[in-house]
């Protein structure tokens, strides 16, 4: 007679969770296509195929049951997040190399699902950023601003063959992101207001990108409503970035963009709701989540404004990922029937 109770369980599974995360990204992807064309769909597909193939190969080598692990959906989430983080108008191998690196190195060399210290998508992103910085700047201009319009076939020619349409220049379809623009032009001693009067800027942040960010926010709220993520990380992330940006903006509005601009720019919304909230690489305690989120918000802002990269979300996430074991150990909550408010790794 063995005790194996409880004999009942909730219907939730890992793959239902992952599929809901993917579903929450769909509206933002639709808006992405609306503003920047269908190229992103191609890079998402490429990333997905690469992720599944890499995952399958590794699972096979590690003698894991293929079907359940391939169907858990975690590789797809990594693939989509990476694809959404890099420019869609990049050579095909960029996303393939990044995804394969993410799955192979960041996920499986750390022990596979549930064991990785760093967010795989962000590791993939950082690897590409360091190895191929030039390709990582080919952000498409919103359709309304592009000087010339490539059709889908032309985009594919460029992605897969590196061929530019006759007489076309890459510059005509790509442009610097709002964060990039802000950074470079501030060095030219222009003020934030002057810079933001430029055509790529809009009410909140960048044309097009701000709407995508809004839909990431909506997707995140859906995940929160579905109790897949808690509010702690997104709120502390956005709150800390807003507060940091707000203070500096008040001090010198000519040098520092508004807090609203920052939380709708770059990878902030995607990072706050979809990347920083990755279960495996974030703290498990509520206080830990608050510290973690706030840490990312502040470091991302600092890297973005004072560091060498136009955006800092990915590096901030990786930086705070490395602190997760420590954060967890020092934020263990009080256990029922014990005195005090917290216990630190067992010592009350």
């Amino acid at each position: 007679m063995s005790i194996n109770s409880p004999l009942v369980a909730e219907k939730s599974t890992v793959n239902i969770i992952m599929l809901k995360v993917l579903a929450a990204l769909l509206p933002a992807i639709a808006v992405y296509v609306y503003f920047f064309g269908p190229a992103i769909l191609v890079s998402i597909t490429l990333a997905s195929a690469t992720a599944l193939a890499t995952e399958a190969a590794v699972l096979y080598l590690r003698r894991y049951p293929l079907r359940v692990y391939l169907l858990d959906g975690s590789a797809l989430v990594t693939a989509w997040l990476l694809a959404l983080s890099i420019p869609p108008l990049a050579p095909w191998w960029l996303v393939v190399v990044g995804t394969a690196f993410a799955i192979l190195v960041a996920k499986h060399l750390y022990g596979g699902l549930g064991n990785n210290l760093f967010n795989p998508a962000m590791v993939g992103f950082a690897a590409l950023m360091i190895s191929f910085p030039a390709h990582m700047t080919h952000w498409p201009a919103p359709d309304v601003l592009a000087q010339s319009h490539w059709n889908f076939a032309q985009q594919m020619d460029f992605m897969f063959g590196g061929a530019l349409p006759a007489g076309a220049k890459l510059d005509a379809v790509t442009m610097a992101t709002p964060l990039d623009t802000l950074k470079t032009q501030l060095h030219l001693d222009r003020t934030v207001t002057e810079i933001q009067s430029g055509s790529i800027f809009s009410i909140l942040s960048g044309k097009g990108t701000e709407i995508i960010a809004l839909f990431y926010l909506l997707g995140g709220l859906f995940l929160w409503q579905q109790r897949i993520i808690s509010w702690h990380i997104p709120l502390s992330f956005l709150g800390a970035m807003f507060a940091t940006a707000g203070v500096l903006h008040l001090v010198d509005p000519g040098q520092y963009a508004s807090p609203l601009f920052h939380i709708f720019a770059g990878g902030t919304m995607l990072g706050a709701f979809f990347i920083a909230t990755d279960y495996v690489t974030s703290p498990t305690t509520l206080l830990g989540k608050l510290i973690f989120g706030a840490g990312i918000g502040i470091s991302a802002y600092i890297i973005r404004v004072f560091g060498g990269y136009p955006d800092g979300v990915a590096f901030a996430v990786l930086f705070l990922n490395s602190a997760v074991p420590l954060i967890d150990a020092y934020t263990q909550p009080r256990v029922f029937g014990h005195a005090g408010k917290w216990f630190r790794g067992g010592k009350e």
Binding site: S5, P6, V8, T13, T284, V335, F336
Partner: protein
């Protein structure tokens, strides 16, 4: 409305309670054979006081409590003891238990039953009476009630009628049908513990029971509190927190915070014991699950489960049976096991009601388990440490505060059997602890033996030295007598000196043997002294060895 103090976490499994409350409770027929395990309570098993062949009456004590934490067991019906032997028991350990097998005679002849006036006997006497009558916690833990009653001047007496596990409805039916008697039982417990306040916690999915109890409690000052339906509100610690806002200290007792908690069925048996003179020989058992006629039955302790379940007509596709609820129950491998005092429910299982759980996946650190844990633990950390056999860390993260409620396993999207890991870790730690204690004991014994041997050796050596000195003195005296009389006066002194010298040597030898020496870098004088002492000690050792050899040869001669 009373302020409630919600505990953390909890889950809402599908209740399945309506099925077994459609019909009122019925009395299960008397089986031909009853199997009464002597261990039906926490603590020591009872000691049989009948032998095979004895005729017994209904309610007669057949096993008597062994020690303080133990309880008596009684014949559930009249008949003949046919055997006292090991039989499978529905115990979580799965081990068979010594049981008394009773062949019933169908006459149900009672022993003489005597009601007692609980106000007339002192509390200690009442507690003794409960132990003699086999009163134990019927909520599932079956801890002897007289032990729990041994505290006075209580702030709050909590009556646990939450019945939070799915499927189980025996407490619900008890309150619906016998509320007045339950209340009489509560009076007894309140009196015995001097409780100033009585709170009866019932989950709000039992409106009939709440209404019945409210009527029965009128004019008593007892308060019926409807608590939100949330598993595990029926866990004593969680219910106490919910009703009083106080937390039972980790590893401590509720009485430390002025609270005690009894299950509603337990106080009912207190009433039967006190006011009717009936020991605990039956209980309400819910038969439910994959059955055509789920229902509650008043069942005699010892009734084989296999016979009992037929009453509710299990369906053809039944895959097995479960004793207790689906969250904490025990699957029954053997249907010959009897109903015991702990058996509140028997569930017939089927593939439809209990679909096999999906394959376990790695922990993804989603923290749903931590959100669900009513003990405020971090189950994912405990899992990690338990699986890695890092038991020290598991204990540091308060493994032993886990109440094994199963909430974590219930919500885990990876369907990891978390509770099994905790049970494994707990038993491993208990085992290590036992081994460590045994090893400590063995080491202590060994050390003592060595110490004793050493002491004996030294004593012998000293004796020998003294003897040698004596002999030398005698020899000196003899030679003195023979020749130089002038030196005779010094003889006694010489002997004395030799004896003193021997004593000093003994003391030195002892000291040297006990104290580890630090012999490096000593001044030359000290080194010389040590050498001298070492030499003497070596001599003492030699003489000791000789004396042993002599003794041995003496013995050899004597034999």
């Amino acid at each position: 409305m009373r302020t409630l103090y919600p505990f953390h976490g909890g889950v809402h499994p599908v209740e399945h309670k309506r099925e077994s409350t459609q019909l009122g409770s019925a009395i299960a027929p008397l089986p031909l054979h009853l199997v009464i395990p002597l261990r039906q309570h926490g603590g020591n098993p009872a000691k049989p006081v009948v032998s095979a062949g004895d005729q017994v009456l209904k309610g007669q004590r057949i096993g008597t409590a062994e020690g303080y934490i133990s309880s008596s067991v009684h014949a559930p019906s009249s008949g003949r003891v046919v055997a006292i032997e090991m039989r499978p028991a529905p115990h979580p350990s799965g081990l068979p238990d010594l049981s008394i097998i009773l062949e019933t005679d169908g006459e149900e002849r009672w022993i003489e039953r005597q009601a007692v006036d609980y106000r007339a006997i002192d509390p200690a006497g009442l507690r003794q009476h409960f132990q003699d009558m086999g009163v134990v916690g019927l909520g599932g833990a079956v801890f002897p009630s007289h032990v729990k009653l041994n505290a006075g001047n209580l702030e709050t007496l909590v009556i646990n009628a939450a019945e939070c596990e799915p499927y189980i409805t025996c407490d619900d039916m008890l309150m619906r049908e016998r509320a007045a008697e339950v209340v009489q039982g509560i009076r007894i417990a309140q009196y015995a513990m001097g409780a100033r306040e009585v709170l009866i916690g019932i989950e709000d999915n039992k409106p009939e029971a709440i209404a019945a109890m409210q009527i029965a409690c009128q004019g008593t000052g007892f308060e019926v509190v409807a608590v939100p339906t949330l598993y595990p509100s029926g866990s004593a610690k969680q219910l106490i927190k919910l009703l009083t806002g106080k937390e039972v200290p980790s590893g401590g007792l509720p009485t430390q915070i002025g609270v005690q908690c009894f299950n509603v069925a337990t106080v009912y048996t207190m009433h039967r014991v006190v006011n009717h003179g009936e020991p605990v020989i039956s209980r309400l058992v819910t038969l439910t699950g994959n059955m055509d006629e789920p229902r509650n039955y008043e069942v005699l302790v010892g009734t084989p489960v296999g016979e009992l379940v037929k009453l509710a007509r299990p369906k053809a596709d039944t895959t097995g049976y479960l004793m207790g609820g689906p969250m904490m129950g025990v699957p029954l491998a053997d249907l010959s096991v009897p109903v015991v005092k702990a058996s509140n429910c028997i569930i017939a299982t089927s593939k439809a009601l209990f679909p096999p759980l999906p394959r376990a996946m790695p922990c993804i650190r989603c923290t749903r388990c931590a959100e669900a844990c009513p003990a405020d633990l971090q189950p994912q950390e405990l899992f990690w440490f338990s699986r890695a056999r890092n038991f020290e860390k598991a204990q540091e993260y308060k493994l032993f505060d886990c109440i094994e409620c199963g909430c974590c396993s219930y919500v885990c999207p990876s369907h990891i059997p978390l509770v099994q890991f905790y049970r494994f870790a707990k038993s491993e730690i208990a085992e290590h602890e036992k081994e460590r204690k045994a090893a400590d004991l063995a080491r202590e014994r060994h050390e003592f033996r060595e110490f004793r041997q050493e002491r004996e050796k030294q004593e012998k050596a000293a004796k020998h030295a003294a003897k040698a000195a004596e002999m030398a003195a005698k020899a000196a005296a003899a030679s003195g007598k023979a020749g130089e009389a002038a030196e005779g006066g010094d003889d006694a002194a010489a002997a004395k000196k030799a004896a003193i010298q021997a004593a000093i040597e003994r003391a030195k030898a002892k000291k040297a043997a006990v104290k580890p020496q630090n012999v490096d870098d000593l001044p030359p004088g000290a080194q010389a002294k040590i050498d001298e002492i070492d030499e003497r000690r070596a001599q003492a050792k030699e003489t000791a060895e000789q004396s042993v050899a002599v003794q041995k040869s003496d013995k050899g001669q004597g034999a």
